[in-house]
């Protein structure tokens, strides 16, 4: 079926967009990959849609004041995935984005839209949380920002108020000795939604011991899960199989798994520690190569 009739509003500032969204009780349109599909299926029948496409300053990837990277909400997943700064400094993000759907979807879907959708199965939030991203929100009432792990509140539920628009995400500075890996486990076809995704970001000190590590599970629970207590296990240690297993065991007490078509609560709980262990070991294994590559460049 086609998309039902609606009126397209195209404000040029986010404040105006925020007012229009409130006035028409509707939602903003970014890449449209989720909304248009929902509208075709008549799950969502808005009279008005507020496009964010004409608002300047919401796109692109640029250096952040903090020394990290600032990604505009309207940047498409693909443009971020292949951005030279992302590829060289945040390969975990590039790797994660490359696993999303297909390249046609990625050229349309945006970073902001992806986060705003609040879908627990999406891949990018895992890597962004692992990298310590902060999300910036704006509305007619002003701007605010919060850690991305605090943004996801429940099943398709985020901290974003209805009149708020995601302006972008900020990544803290990267680290020469850092490495990461996103392990996407699909239980059906390779191109399907993940059953469980694990994003791992490890920083090591000069002696090759772990300084800090962040492990995030996606698709496993109602929201992305940032494992707590990882640093207590890994800090000052090498990422060995035994250490990785200890981190993996954290899922037993912290993961409140969700059942969906990709797996039952039992199955997700069973494989989550396996995938955490494997993702950690893979991230640790990759590190020297990544360092070598950076030296070469």
């Amino acid at each position: 079926m086609g998309v039902p009739r609606f009126e397209l509003l195209e404000p040029v500032t986010y404040e105006e967009a925020s007012r229009l969204i409130s006035a028409h009780e509707t939602i903003p349109l970014a890449g449209g990959t989720a909304i248009i599909s929902m509208m075709r299926q008549r799950l969502f029948n808005p009279s008005h849609i507020v496009s964010l496409h004409k608002i300047s300053g919401l796109g692109g990837v640029s250096p952040a004041k903090s020394g990290g990277l600032s990604i505009g909400a309207m940047a498409t997943l693909r443009s971020v995935e292949i951005h030279p700064a992302v590829r060289s400094q945040y390969p975990l993000l590039s790797e994660t984005l490359s696993s999303v759907a297909n390249v046609r979807v990625r050229w349309s879907a945006t970073v902001g839209g992806n986060l705003a959708h609040g879908d627990y199965r999406l891949d990018p939030p895992g890597a962004l949380i692992a990298l310590g991203a902060r999300v910036r929100l704006g509305s007619a009432r002003g701007e605010r920002e919060l850690q991305l792990e605090d943004f996801f509140r429940g099943f398709f539920e985020t901290a974003k108020e209805d009149d708020e628009i995601i302006l972008g995400v900020d990544l803290p500075p990267t680290d020469e000795e850092a490495s990461g890996h996103y392990l996407k486990f699909t239980s059906h076809a390779s191109a399907d939604w993940p059953c469980v995704g694990v994003a791992v970001y490890i920083k090591e000190n000069f002696s090759g011991k772990c300084e800090s590590a962040r492990v995030v599970l996606t698709a496993a629970a109602q929201t992305p899960l940032l494992l707590e207590g990882v640093d207590e296990i890994l800090s000052g240690e090498a990422v060995t199989e035994a250490a990785a297993q200890k981190v993996a065991d954290l899922t037993h007490s912290q993961l409140d798994s969700i059942e969906d078509s990709s797996g039952s609560t039992w199955y997700k709980r069973e494989i989550a520690p396996v995938l955490v262990r494997r993702a950690l070991l893979e991230a640790a294994r990759r590190k020297p190569k990544a360092r070598d590559e950076r030296r070469k460049n």
């Binding site: 029948n45 486990f185 239980s187």
Partner: protein, 803 residues
């Protein structure tokens, strides 16, 4: 494939597809590309309940949408004079629009015709219905029991096909067909056996997922003729049924079918045609209907099935085989009764067992109507009989391949239906796959590890093989007309539908071979019942054989005329002639030759005319005894195929990677060897998804994954690293150049080959398809005694077997 010597010029060669260039360039026009001037667009409102009385359908708001020409409901349908309200190839059980009650969630309850598609869809979304919910039933085994919610109070046989004439249904139950086969005394043999294996295998409904959704356009001409353009595998069935529905002569219905963008059985018999034509009648306008992808899931699916199987073993021999299969017809029977009868007859497997009992049921449930899907119900049986062969081998302490060799049907054997087995290349297929699976590649690449695995310690490897067989749909008829032009080009008129299987290329090759033409000078028409002679249907791998023989018959009539004139002109007896490269010449004196244009001049005295030939071919079968299934001839011929799989099982996640897939198919003689390989590979790739992850998931009577966002399909990354296809050529005496069909052969045995390989790897037997990683891991845990806790039982099962 290497061929030492080929006696033919065109047949047996890897001719490129004649429809290839247009499809590769994107200029092939499919139905949705056609413009139907002035046509109204249709959109449908569908039931939201799986089983409910319709109390009221409110169309007022829909009728008020600007551009809407008509809104039509099932009640309106009953009020139309002279239209038969129900259709179906076996029973007239499916209403053009639901009236009285709905029988599945997604069933059309009303249609809107509007000046544009947007208005039609907007109006359809405004249609509101009130229902009184009825108890619904989804599991075919439960639906077959007395006391289950009843879908149909009575059944009216359609009488459209010879093999379905005697259907009566089983009033008071949801069973629309019960096929029986008895040989010896299976119950006694099971009672006396040393070991009895007993298992139930389940397959869920799955989607054809043809890329092109269903579409149809129709109008009545001022003189009353009905013109229909449609995506159908059965133009002549559609013509006949539309003539009956609207009470007009066969000659007053014209059905035109463009090439289809895939079908696999999903576009067979009536789909959108009755409704589209009805709306053309009530609006007196041309109308067109193009389904969305999501609506395809509400139009057809493959039968889910619960297959109970018993194998009796005594004194080192298999003494008994008993099968009870419950095919899930969904809400309307479509051709399910034929699947129960014809395919049910192959339920014991391709073996010689002394005592056999089969009961095959086709059972109504409250879901999307089921239809054939590349294999006509065989894969739902092969999963049972082929894993049981491996289980029996374990008990008998025999090699599974050796055990199959001991029992496999061979030329001249009597099958358990009492029919002699002829030209069946089962042993050759078995030899082929066992050879390839047994042999390890010398330069074996590094293992394909499971997700996140960097070392092999959690990988278990296994190999498995399986056989499958099928009988060709019989009886059916194909007619062809061939016209040779005076310039040596030819037209083949055939109602066989080109749906990607390459039939048109095969027919062009056959006509070119018979008439000594360049294959590129032969044009094969697309079906148009005003222009193409009768063909029963394009399905069941029957076209190359039946229509191929009809094309030979037609071409040979022309050939005789050419030789007759050449004989007069050259004064050489026609037996001495060869017909090649557009000319007739003497075998002994090749310089004595006459080209086709000259023959035309000699024969007619002027250019411009055509030589026409007409061919007919009819397959035969003898109706089986209803109580025992015994018949001296159950089919026109047989298909044999085998699959071999090598898998790597991730023992920590249950993830199964098929690393090597071997398919072997007996094609008789390959008209086009490359096409044969592609057909078998395509069938295997498609079945891989059905084996590993595809399932139409029903929750609370409603489909929950009816879109490509949620319904998983095989992607390139899921393909095996080694994908081997072996074409076995065991010429079929009655086939065109020895050929038989090939479209389904690769689907039959693939699932059990994978299940047998998983057993080889991790010592578990899986019975519910698809074999998802979760099922593998769960079975491994259960086998090791660490069964998952009770809380885990909340997982939605894919299978729907008896408890």
């Amino acid at each position: 494939m290497t061929r030492e010597s080929i006696e033919w010029s065109v047949v047996g060669h890897d001719v490129l597809r004649l429809d290839g260039p247009a499809k590769v360039r994107g200029v092939q026009r499919y139905l949705a590309d056609k413009v139907f001037p002035g046509a109204l667009h249709l959109a449908l409102a569908r039931s939201t309940h799986p089983h409910a009385k319709i109390l009221r359908v409110d169309t007022r708001a829909a009728g008020g949408v600007p551009g809407v020409a008509a809104v039509f409901t099932g009640e309106n349908l009953l009020a139309v004079h002279g239209v038969r309200p129900c259709y179906g190839p076996a029973f007239r059980d499916q209403p053009i629009l639901a009236f009285g009650k709905v029988r599945y969630a997604g069933e059309p309850i009303a249609a809107v015709a509007a000046e544009n598609r947007e208005a039609a869809e907007e109006a359809a979304a405004l249609i509101e219905a009130e229902y009184e919910e009825l108890p619904h039933v989804q599991n075919p085994f439960e639906a077959a029991q007395h006391g289950a919610p009843l879908l149909h109070d009575s059944l009216e046989p359609a009488g459209a096909f010879a093999d379905l004439m005697a259907l009566k249904g089983h009033p008071g139950t949801n069973i629309c067909t019960h096929y029986k086969q008895r040989q010896g005394d299976a119950e006694k043999a099971l009672a006396e056996a040393d070991h009895v294996l007993e298992d139930t295998y389940t397959c869920p409904p799955v989607s054809h997922a043809h890329l092109e959704p269903h579409g149809a356009a129709a109008w009545f001409e001022p003189g009353g003729r009905l013109i229909v353009h449609t995506t159908s595998q059965t133009p002549y069935f559609v013509r006949g049924d539309l003539a009956a529905i609207f009470g007009i002569a066969l000659a007053d219905v014209r059905v035109v079918v463009p090439p289809l963008g895939g079908s696999y059985g999903g576009k067979i018999y009536d789909k959108l045609e009755p409704l589209t034509c009805l709306m053309a009648k009530v609006t007196s306008r041309p109308v067109q209907l193009h389904l969305s992808r999501e609506e395809v899931f509400y139009t057809s699916s493959r039968h889910g099935a619960a297959t109970k199987i018993w194998t009796g073993i005594k004194d080192g021999k298999i003494t008994a085989r008993k099968v009870e299969v419950f095919y899930d017809a969904g809400a309307y029977a479509e051709v399910g009764p034929r699947i129960a009868q014809k395919t049910g007859s192959t339920a014991p497997g391709p073996y010689k067992f002394p005592n056999v009992s089969v009961d095959a049921f086709c059972v109504y449930t409250n879901k999307t109507p089921s239809g054939p899907l590349r294999g006509f119900g065989v894969p739902q049986l092969a999963i049972a009989y082929e894993t049981h062969m491996n289980k029996a081998a374990t008990i008998l302490e025999k090699d599974p391949v050796a055990l199959r060799r001991e029992y496999v049907l061979e030329e001249g054997d009597l099958y358990s239906t009492g029919s002699p087995v002829t030209s069946i290349g089962l042993r050759a297929c078995l030899d082929s796959v066992s050879r390839v699976v047994e042999k390890t590649s010398e330069n074996r690449p590094a293992p394909t590890l499971g997700p996140g695995l960097t070392q092999e310690k959690h990988i278990a490897r296994g190999r498995g093989i399986a056989l499958g067989f099928k009988s060709v749909i019989s009886p059916t008829i194909s007619n062809a007309i061939v016209e040779l032009n005076s310039d040596g080009s030819a037209i083949v008129r055939s109602a066989t539908v080109e749906m990607g299987q390459g039939a048109t290329t095969a027919f062009a090759q056959i006509a070119a071979e018979e008439l000594g033409l360049d294959v590129n000078k032969v044009h094969v028409t697309t079906p148009d019942t005003d222009q193409s002679p009768y063909d029963t249907l394009t399905a069941g791998s029957r076209s190359t054989y039946h229509m191929g023989n009809a094309v030979i018959g037609a071409a040979r009539q022309i050939r005789e005329k050419l030789l007759e004139t050449a004989s007069e002109a050259l004064e050489i007896p026609s037996e001495e002639f060869e017909l090649r490269e557009g000319r007739v010449f003497s075998r002994s004196l090749p310089e004595r030759a006459i080209a086709i244009p000259e023959i035309f001049l000699k024969r007619f005295g002027a250019p411009g005319t055509t030589l026409t030939g007409e061919g007919t071919f009819q397959g035969h079968a003898v109706k089986a005894d209803p109580e025992t299934g015994q018949t001296p001839r159950m089919t026109e011929h047989w298909f044999a195929g085998a699959s071999g799989a090598e898998v790597e099982v991730d023992t920590e996640t249950g993830f199964v990677k098929v690393t090597r897939l071997v398919s072997s198919a007996d094609v008789g003689r390959a008209i086009n060897p490359r096409h044969c390989v592609e057909q078998v590979q395509g069938a295997a790739a498609m079945t891989l998804g059905f084996a590993l992850f595809e399932s139409m998931r029903i929750e609370d009577g409603r489909l929950v994954n009816g879109s490509f966002l949620e319904y998983p399909l095989t992607a390139f990354e899921d393909m095996p690293r080694e994908f081997i296809t072996d074409i076995v050529e065991n010429p079929l005496e009655s086939g065109p150049y020895g050929a038989r069909g090939v479209g389904e052969t690769g689907t039959m045995a693939l699932k059990p080959a994978i299940v047998n390989a998983i057993h080889d790897a991790v010592d578990i037997w899986l019975k519910d398809m698809p074999v998802t990683p979760e099922k593998v891991l769960r079975a491994m845990r259960e086998a090791s005694g660490a069964a998952p806790g009770k809380e885990a039982s909340g997982a939605a099962p894919d299978g729907e077997g008896p408890k």
